[in-house]
Amino acid sequence: MNVILNGDHRELPDQATLQWLIEDLGLAGKRLAIEVNEEIVPRSQYGDYRLKDGDRVEVVHAIGGG
């Protein structure tokens, strides 16, 4: 399936969970937040949350700002 991850197309295995995705990205355990189709997904749900074809996923973190 294909999702849009931080604005770019990305091919993922069918049934991939958010937990699978962040492990695949090397981001497991990092302080981040995830939104799918403009809805927050709480960290506690990453393991159960299965992505669907066409989902728009945003992975964000804190950076310097004023």
Partner: protein, 269 residues
Amino acid sequence: MTDQSQIPLPEDKPLEFAGRVYQSRLLVGTGKYRDMTETGDAIKASGAEIVTVAVRRTNLGQNPDEPNLLDVVSPKDYTILPNTAGCFTAKDAVRTCKLARELLDGHNLVKLEVLGEEKTLYPNMTETLVAAEQLISDGFQVMVYCSDDPLLAKRLEEMGCIAIMPLGAPIGSGLGIQNRYNIRLIVENANVPVLVDAGVGTASDATIAMELGCDGVLMNTAIASARDPVRMARAMKLAIESGREAYLSGRMAKKAYASASSPIDGTFF
């Protein structure tokens, strides 16, 4: 002429946000530093207890071991104040705040800023009002960046914003406080903390804000873009403390002519 001794001195109320009292009245941003080390050193030198951060897409596929801002500026040591910088609509600002709350484990203190246009980064107040209302009803504690309009400032307070943060001058301009009269009016009318947010260029600007009776000042570029940011951070700490002390002291009245400091009596010439 008003007899100044009849005017009560300002009350030295502690600075409090969301039930927590802060000793430092300087709030600092974390943008524009050369690297994480300089960020950490400058913030430490500033004595700030509240620091702002931005929320942005994680760089994917790049070095995942690069230092994370929240490792240098840890939520254990500082109150993290996520901002909505870069948002030009209420919708984007609300989304950003929700992501920030998730990022910070439910911490719901945010700095709302909705910008109007690129050139001045002046706040879009109609969108700011819409966003503030949604955020407050969703349980956020909103510190709001706003124009220096006294009526809008009061409106934001009445809506439930916990701090009113008018700009002194455009973000990153370093022009200093351009409308002292309006800042003063906002301070006089407010029952929540008022902080000048944006426009400070050097220490005297921060002191002026505090002498006007502001409860604090939020700045980023004035420190980060100084040639020696760590030293400027220290200067700002002192400037804020000086301005606060001067405000609480009740300054002398201005006079048109001289008034000798040394007595005339007892002169021998």
